[in-house]
């Protein structure tokens, strides 16, 4: 029998529909693959094998009864940031030790309602703060990709590094992820997978541990554009429990695939051509432009003049919101508690022991920029910059641009434990230089694999769309995917 884990979600869905195999068989194949690979990849922080098999059995029963849902029997991995009832939910932080929520996040509840099966919880940067998955309390995730002729361990990107690595290494059919500054799109680009951050408000944030509430958004990482479209359709919903979720019908994203991009206006922002940009990134971008032009799209140069300020403004807004959101981890209601000589000492010892270095750094920055006397100089100014960044995009869209094409990342995957990145937090932050603008403006963005660099590592392109026009992104990304082909790592684990 063929290896069932190699099937895409669409293929597995169609084959199960024809009765070629059951969800139990598919789930068992994934559990076996996880068992064989997780020691090397470290993508899962907990595997819920019994629950997965129970869910698969129930799914097979529903299919037999003729009530199959859109994701019936499809085994998925869930980022540890999502609350899953009775199951390890720690945002990969020590401070949430032992936390097993008594409730389910809205997004995962939507997936289970459509018939999906949970394989386990996926590794991530602690509280989604990182671009390499190295800030996890559970250790780094190892990228299934290696450079040609090298066995050096590479990072899968972050913060959704476990999600991206698990999808690329065939350890789940698809995964949930979240994106605050690039945490879906950068790991997708580093692993040759497809990741979409939908428009702010498209998915409910309820039950997802909050990092920066005005920027956080849920989305899928998948093997191809079609699978990403299928997953987002199930994940998205309006939700009474998240007042920022939007009450707009969720389109059938899969139906957008195969549509023509003839006449579509694709903007190329000159500001994304950064100083010192590697030649292979520029070449990839030019290739993407050529593919879309060949498919009949109209390519136009655009200006997004405030681009360079997006990352510094983000490093005020995101830590400020994080310092407030993470105040709740105080050793009283859940997770870790360290002893202290009085209540304040208990808080301080708990948070000192519970949070890792990067999380502490961001809480400290956030606390400082919101402290008395500094609010106007930092936070208020950053929020004004955000208005200007969003206005840049609005002017481009008003001029008729349908989508914007950019590189997804400034480089391919880098080494685990990279000294120059470890010693300079700002250098690590620059990984998000092409993706963070999208969060600041609340827009949808998709990363799609487009080629390999000279070392044989995957590179991605990013498409940025108008608010709630994810269909245009899926349609256009599908054209790039068809031109570029698929990319899969050589199995070494």
């Amino acid at each position: 029998m063929t290896d069932l884990t190699r099937l895409t979600i669409a293929e597995a869905r169609d084959e199960m529909g024809k009765g070629a195999f059951s969800s139990v068989e598919l789930t068992e194949a994934y559990l076996k693959a996880i068992d064989a690979a997780n020691a090397a990849i470290n993508a899962y922080v907990t595997v819920t094998a019994d629950k997965a098999l129970d869910m698969a059995k129930a799914s097979d029963a529903r299919r037999a009864a003729g009530t199959a849902g859109a994701l019936e029997g499809i085994p998925l991995g869930i980022k540890d940031l999502y609350a899953t009832e009775g199951v390890h939910t720690q945002a990969c932080s020590h401070v949430l030790d032992g936390f097993e929520p008594r409730y389910e996040s809205t997004v995962t509840a939507n997936l289970w309602a459509d018939g999906a099966v949970m394989l386990g919880k996926l590794n991530m940067d602690e509280f989604a703060m990182g671009s390499s998955n190295e800030t996890s309390y559970y250790g780094p995730v190892i990228n299934p990709w290696r450079a040609e002729g090298s066995d050096a361990r590479l990072v899968p990107g972050g913060s959704s590094g476990g999600s991206a690595a698990a999808v690329a290494a065939w350890l789940c059919a698809g995964a949930t992820a979240t994106d605050t500054g690039g945490s879906i799109r950068q790991p997708a680009a580093f692993t040759g997978t497809v990741g979409i951050k939908p428009t702010y408000g498209r998915c409910s944030r309820w039950g997802i541990a909050a990092f920066a509430s005005s920027l956080d958004q849920a989305g899928p990482i998948a093997r191809d554009v079609r699978d990403a479209a299928i997953l987002l359709k199930s994940m998205a919903s309006v939700d009474d429990k998240d007042t920022t979720s939007v009450d707009l019908p969720v389109p059938d994203y899969e139906a957008a695939l195969g549509g023509s991009v003839k006449g579509l206006k694709i903007g190329i922002p000159r500001e994304y051509r950064m100083d010192g940009m590697p030649a292979e990134i520029d070449a990839l971008w030019q290739q993407g432009i050529a593919w879309l032009k060949d498919a009949g799209a109209e390519i136009v140069d655009i200006e997004l003049p405030h681009t360079k300020y997006a990352l510094p403004a983000y490093y005020i807004v995101a830590p400020a919101e994080a310092s407030s959101n993470l105040a709740r981890y105080d050793g009283v209601r859940y997770g870790l508690r360290m002893p202290g000589k009085d209540i304040v000492d208990m808080y301080e010892q708990t948070r000192a022991a519970g949070f890792g270095q990067e999380v502490k750094r961001r809480i400290m920055i956030g606390t400082y920029v919101l402290s008395a006397g500094y609010y106007d100089a930092y936070y208020l100014r950053a929020q004004k910059l955000r208005t200007l960044i969003k206005r840049d995009f609005e002017l481009a869209f008003d001029a008729g641009v349908d989508a914007i094409l950019t590189p997804a990342t400034p480089s391919s995957a880098f080494a685990v434990g990279d000294e120059s990145l470890a010693s300079d937090p700002v250098k690590m932050y620059l990984n998000d230089v092409f993706t963070v603008t999208v969060n600041m403006a609340g827009l949808p963005g998709i990363a799609v694999p487009a080629g390999l660099d000279p070392k044989g590592l995957p590179l991605g392109l990013q498409l940025i769309g108008r608010p709630f026009e994810e269909e245009t992104l899926f349609r256009t990304a599908h054209v790039i995917e068809q031109a570029a082909g698929r990319f899969a790592p050589k199995r070494w684990w």
Partner: protein
């Protein structure tokens, strides 16, 4: 703007994170690197620009003012590091 060691310790206390002398000294350098990076925002003229309060131009939906949930004491206490009867317990706060 930059922070000195005393400011680092004051901010750590505001954030309720215990820091050793060594931690504080390391953080001083890291925080100043980040503050140096964000300093470039000061070169932008933001006079008359409205600060963003919501990325989507929408009216926030409001729930009806009714009780929809409750009586979940056991669920709420289930993950508490320490509890007694129906209470979270903490070190003594009143002498």
């Amino acid at each position: 703007m930059s922070v000195d060691l005393a400011t680092v310790k004051r901010v750590a206390h505001l954030a309720r994170i215990a820091v050793s002398e060594e931690d504080a000294a390391r953080m001083e350098g890291e925080l100043n690197a980040i503050l140096g990076f964000v300093e470039q925002l000061s070169e932008v003229d933001v006079d008359g620009v409205e600060p963003m309060t919501s990325v989507t131009p929408m009216q926030m939906r409001k729930r009806t003012d009714t009780v929809t949930d409750g009586s979940k004491t056991a669920d709420i206490l289930a993950n508490a590091p320490e509890s007694a009867e129906t209470f979270f317990t903490v070190p003594k706060v009143v002498e």
